[in-house]
């Protein structure tokens, strides 16, 4: 019997660990207020949706009332949705892409009250690949340059090898020398936790496959990348992205890029441009509204540093 208990307790402890680690989905009635301006038999319900990364709220949230599909809520920019309902007792169930659904217990909506409900989704997205960040260095004269990164994930690969930093001799044309070898760029790759990214995913573009190349070319050029850098970017990403009919594309620029990896270049460059692209397949079942991002091109004067990378967000919600 004792032995049996031990066997049973072992998975139990791992269960505990699993529950503790993750930020769980929940809902909460955050307030009930009387409001006599409402029609006599009505109550007003105000949902506030939140999800840590904000990514899941970019897509349409759907919900059911007493197991019946309700009209799709259109969220305001703060993640709120409100509507008037007949007073009564209801059960709600909420659905968001990449998240487990949340089902409430019975909630009573009393006549002429405003009921606030907080719905906190937990996305089941986790580690994603941070693919091919490459760094180009263009000093005005032959310069010994050191580059150190504060990568917010786990580095899988670097070339030339990163060790505790890169030390290279950089030339105005962009050629980097380390020992006998010449390189065109510094390369690293790794995994990052999507939960740690904070950015406004509602900004960006939904791009058709046939327009992808010209979209990437014009977006990157408008940021200040040159045609060689654009070719590296396009030939790396476009073949992967063109498998989808449409993609959602969001760019994180220089300051936001620090969430992927901070960078320190010595001597200090005059101009830095860092471009990180997040993308995923557009899902016709969950249409997305995105507002276009606009960019101000950097001045490519003095010692210029350019970096680009990206991640496909391809977590199957069933996994």
């Amino acid at each position: 019997m004792k032995r049996l208990l031990v066997i049973l307790l072992l998975p139990l402890t791992t269960c505990f660990a699993a529950v503790k680690e993750s930020d769980m989905p929940y809902y909460e009635v955050t307030g009930v207020k009387k409001n006599s301006t409402l029609p006599k038999n009505k109550a007003r319900i105000v949902f506030h949706f939140e999800e840590h990364s904000g990514f899941c709220l970019r897509n349409l949230i759907t919900y059911k009332i007493n197991n019946v599909q309700a009209a799709d809520p259109s969220l305001d920019t703060l993640g709120n949705y409100s509507c008037n309902m007949n007073a009564g007792t209801y059960e709600f169930e909420f659905f968001a892409t990449y998240c487990n659904p949340i089902k409430t217990k019975k909630i009573e909506l009393k006549k002429q009250t405003v009921v606030n409900i907080l719905v906190h989704f937990h996305s089941n997205m986790g580690l994603i690949e941070a693919d091919k960040p490459v760094i180009y260095l263009y000093p005005t004269k032959e310069t010994n340059v050191s580059v150190t990164l504060d990568f917010k994930g786990e580095m899988d690969f670097s070339y030339p090898v990163y060790h505790t930093g890169w030390n290279v001799t950089a030339y105005p044309g962009g050629t980097l020398k380390s020992g006998q070898n010449e390189y065109g760029y510094l390369f690293y790759e790794g995994k990052i936790d999507l939960h740690n990214l904070k950015t406004n995913y509602t900004q960006g573009s939904v791009v058709e496959s046939s327009k992808l190349i010209s979209f990437l070319e014009s977006s990157l050029a408008s940021m200040g990348l040159n045609t060689k850098e654009i070719a590296d970017f396009v030939t790396y990403w476009a073949p992967r992205m063109m498998k989808n009919e449409k993609n959602c594309v969001h760019f994180m620029l220089t300051d936001a890029y620090d969430q992927i990896a901070g960078i320190k270049v010595v001597p200090t460059p005059d101009n830095v441009l860092r471009v990180y692209m997040l993308w995923d397949a557009f899902d016709p079942a969950h249409p997305v509204l995105m507002t276009k991002q606009t960019f101000i091109p950097i001045k490519r004067e003095g010692f210029t540093v350019v970096e680009w990378g990206g991640s496909e967000i391809n977590i199957n919600p069933n996994n």
Partner: protein
């Protein structure tokens, strides 16, 4: 009794436990047989007289089936899965098998399934490839003329080209090449010409008695040595290594075989005008393997280095070809 009580508490208290259990019902691959699984049947009161069929397609070797058709009682339906490879279909109840076909996969016929009216049936399907496909990835072409000159480059690929950059015109790429390798077209500068495609892996005719088995932590050194011995410079090697190593290091061991120069023609031929003085074309075929010891002993491939003199052209590309070799 105490034990039972404990078990009950355990299940009630920890919903996570039931989730863990779900994981164990994943696909078990048996031989070459196609797989399917009915994961769930629920009642659907909204449609009391019909059946909703929900199909989820699982990838096989990281690849999803294409051009899927579903045959139900002699009627063929074109299957258009959504972004998550799911497909829903409303049908009449009855007792019949489902027949899935797809271009390039083995057909999959399920057992006879009883579909009751007013239900929703969830089924997961995994279709297996019939013929190995190879995706020639990132063939890139570098041109180094002796002086700035107009160059025309045409390639003839033994498959379907899916992507080119800069855009490949009907009469090929027409551009101005500079001695340092910079290529100019319509005021834009490039370092290389790029194309990618899809071909039948059997056309590669890889002689698998030659090649190398490389451990993941030796990949970089292996490529640096092999590619340098062929005559690639360190910038070209960097492009090669940063492209392939991140993909290959997911495997503990890889089998690597190079198709060099005339052997590259099995993938594609290259015509450059004016004719280059020297050309080196390196195509790498690779696959994961699980044992250093193969059924057949491997002969190491040896290369003679290219002379980088005169107008030099370099091309490299590669394909992962799954199940290319049999290991012990």
């Amino acid at each position: 009794m105490r034990f039972l009580l404990f078990l009950c508490c355990f299940i009630i208290l920890f919903p996570g436990f039931s989730q863990n259990r779900k994981d164990t019902t994943r696909f078990v691959k048996i031989g070459n047989a196609p797989e399917y699984e009915i994961t769930k049947t629920v009642s659907n009161k909204k449609n009391p007289n019909t059946v909703i069929l929900n199909v989820t397609f699982e990838p096989y070797d990281d690849d999803y089936p294409r051009g899927i058709k579903l045959k139900i009682k002699g009627k063929t339906i074109e299957v258009k899965p959504d972004a998550y490879y799911k497909f829903s279909y409303r049908m009449q109840p009855g007792k019949f098998p489902l027949e899935f076909t797809s271009s390039g996969s083995f057909p999959l016929v399920t057992d006879t399934i009883l579909f009751l009216k007013g239900t929703e049936v969830f089924i997961t399907v995994q279709m297996k490839h019939q013929v190995g496909r190879a995706k020639p990835m990132k063939p890139v072409i570098y041109l180094y003329p002796e002086k700035k000159q107009e160059v025309n480059v045409q390639f003839n690929f033994n498959g379907i080209t899916t992507f080119t950059y800069p855009t490949y015109a009907e009469n090929g790429w027409q551009l101005t090449a500079h001695p340092n390798g910079t290529l100019e077209q319509n005021g834009k500068e490039y370092n290389y010409l790029f194309w990618e495609g899809d071909m039948d892996a059997s056309l590669l005719h890889v002689n698998t008695s030659e090649g190398s088995i490389v451990a993941k932590n030796e990949l970089v050194t292996f490529f640096e040595n092999s590619l340098a011995s062929m005559g690639l410079n360190s910038k070209e090697m960097q492009d090669f290594i940063t492209f392939w190593v991140p993909k290959m290091q997911e495997n503990e061991l890889n089998y690597v075989h190079f198709l060099v120069n005339e052997n590259y023609d099995r993938v594609s031929t290259l015509a450059v005008n004016p004719e280059p003085d020297n050309a080196l074309r390196v195509y790498m075929v690779w696959t994961a393997c699980h044992n250093k010891q193969l059924a057949m002993p491997l002969r190491q491939q040896i290369f003679s280095p290219l002379k980088r003199e005169g107008f030099t052209v370099i091309e490299w590309g590669g394909s992962e070809v799954k199940n290319l070799i049999k290991d012990l």
